[in-house]
């Protein structure tokens, strides 16, 4: 889960990293008051979980409180790369001398974290790395040692950062560890004309798997983007909304991803990703069907299950009982294979629902669902 900039800023401050004075609001009127408190001149920054805010006009200076209100009103109405702006952060401007880049990112292949640092901050680090690879230092961090003062000094020296930044590098590592973050990025980290090192903008991605021991950000950082995704999340379903017309339900992340691809290969577009996992009980099947059917773009639904540990007769039972609670409004194509598949197919045949049909292979089922969704 990505945090908003203002949440990242709060975390940095808690770990002793200097940040600009700032406040958050969803109201233009309050923005005027905040600007007054911060001394009049402010930066108004859209709080959205996507890059490129500046280019999209989501980060602007306001010279006084009245301008801050006007600017906040404009930004609060914006949609940046599909993300509606719900809040803005107003920050006191900083007198920048130099901009740096620092981050800790997961190196999946090496199975450890990597410090990335550059004396050329402020722009996308990928662009710097592409143009001048030597300007970007990449230093692996031994997980058993972490970032000590000595290690921080090594990172700063490798990137050509002033020795002063070592303290921030140590504290940033503490943010990564204590908050179970997968990414901590400060861009830019700045030195002010007064000689202070300040985190001007930051990005933090937390590990969803660690939420059992990191409860604090849960609901407040969830973006309520798509209503269907919100409804599915409320039911504990692993659902991602897509732009097509074939609803997809399957078991296992890999098989469901594969099902989307096979449907796309048949000339239709998948409407969603929905992994009902190993259990596939009647309740989960009913919940899944109701979410998928409530998507008005869906014109057919494909259930693709390979019974490994899960028995297909139990899945078929689940579908039959789900049909008692959910009114099927669109054709449903079911493919059951693997453990007890023959018995499962019998159960579905016996139900004789006019909108339910079966296919014996995954490719055949995808073809049929695609035909049904694209038929005029």
């Amino acid at each position: 889960m990505d945090l908003y900039e203002h949440q990242a800023r709060e975390l940095f401050a808690e770990h002793g990293i200097l940040v600009p004075r700032a406040e958050v609001t969803d109201s233009p009127e309050e923005a005027r008051e905040i600007a007054r408190r911060l001394g009049g001149r402010v930066v108004v920054k859209a709080q959205v979980k996507t890059g490129g805010r500046g280019k999209a006009g989501g980060v602007r200076f306001a010279a006084d409180p009245a301008a801050a209100e006007l600017t906040a009103r404009q930004i609060l109405g914006m949609v940046i790369k599909g993300h509606p702006v719900g809040t803005v952060m107003l920050a006191r401007p900083v007198d920048i001398e130099t901009e740096f880049y620092v981050s800790y990112v997961l190196d999946r292949a090496a199975g450890r974290f990597l410090a990335i640092a550059s004396a050329e901050g402020g722009t996308e680090i990928e662009e710097v790395a592409a143009a001048r690879p030597a300007a970007v230092a990449r230093i692996p961090v031994d997980p058993a040692q972490g970032v000590t003062s000595a290690k921080a000094g090594e990172i700063a020296a490798a990137a050509g950062l002033p020795a002063q930044t070592a303290d921030v590098l140590v504290r940033l590592w503490q943010v990564l560890i204590r908050e179970d973050a997968l990414l901590v990025e400060v861009n830019p980290l700045v030195r002010t004309r007064q000689g202070q090192i300040l985190a001007l903008d930051g990005k933090v991605t937390l590990d969803d798997n660690a939420s059992f021991r990191q409860s604090r950000w849960g609901a407040e950082s969830t973006e309520h983007g798509d209503p269907l995704e919100a409804a599915a999340a409320a039911k504990g379903l692993n659902y991602v909304k897509l732009d097509g017309e074939v609803g997809i339900i399957g078991n296992g992340a890999g098989l469901v991803m594969s099902t989307l691809d096979v449907v796309a290969g048949c000339g239709a577009r998948p409407a969603n990703f929905l992994d009902i996992g190993g259990g596939a009980s009647a309740e989960i099947m009913a919940d899944g069907l109701s979410v998928v059917l409530s998507d008005p773009a869906v014109r057919s639904v494909l259930v693709n299950v390979f019974g490994g540990i899960t028995a297909c007769d139990a899945v078929a039972d689940g579908i039959v009982r789900a049909l008692d609670t959910v009114r099927l409004t669109k054709p449903l194509v079911v493919r059951l294979d693997g453990n007890n598949a023959a018995r499962g197919r019998e159960i579905l045949d016996a139900r004789r629902h006019p909108l339910v049909q079966q296919a014996t292979t995954m490719d055949g089922a995808a073809r049929r669902a695609a035909e049904l969704a694209t038929a005029v």
Binding site: L255, S258, D261
Partner: protein, 307 residues
Amino acid sequence: MAIYLTKESRVLVQGMTGAEGMKHTRRMLAAGTNIVGGVNPRKAGRTVDFDVPQSPNGLSGAPVPVPVPVFGSVADGMRETGADVTVVFVPPAFTAAAVVEAADAGIGLAVVITEGVPVHDSVAFVTHAAARGTRVIGPNCPGLITPGQSDAGIIPADITEPGRIGLVSKSGTLTYQLMYELRDIGFSTCVGIGGDPVVGTSHIDCLAAFEEDPDTDLVVLIGEIGGDAEERAAAYIRDHVTKPVVGYIAGFTAPEGKTMGHAGAIVSGSTGTAQAKKEALEAAGVRVGATPAETARLALAVLDEGP
């Protein structure tokens, strides 16, 4: 021969006395796995009786009671039984401690089934285990099976017979799907390496082992979006693998920035796309199927061509 797991493997189960541990230990016993003990400090000294149906899937047949002793630690279990493999079913909060304990005891292979392990924990225990010579498979994986010999994890034992195909995959159900498609040929060993961002055993590790395995003639490699493990595997195949490899990649239709079920299955910017993985594999001479069924047909065609 097979890789990593044979009928000689002596298997401990950490978390055996929990619900998942009980269910899958029974299944593994039915599949012929030599389960030599469970580990639970609070139940040390007891014996758990498993009613094991005498069918490979552990679901039918007349049950026969099989007693399995419970040890207080992995070290005790290894000393008493000569165990060399552990299968870990303990909950996410305790997984790191369980793997570190097993590595400290000197076990050769730790198969971590648990889903939902924090990444920082995986980084810590994978590094710790590697430094002690313990191979970790997983976390968040279905384990591995050497059909007809041993099953360590949750892969169904009744899908396929022993044969000459090796399989390595990030995904459990896609593993089952390909095992099913190629059941008439059979498999030497199938390894589910897991869908988390950090896992103990990579595609490359398995490719290297299959290359050395005299019982494997062809490798099926299954990947999915996220990271660059498949691109790295492609480079490895080009430089080091002489046996034929057939590939399948899932997630061509996945949108950027969305996690697709597996914690590691996410396209970030332009990295981790299915297209890039497919192209890298094809450039290394791997034939990549558009669907699981087509992948199976490619594998059959390669085997028909002969060496």
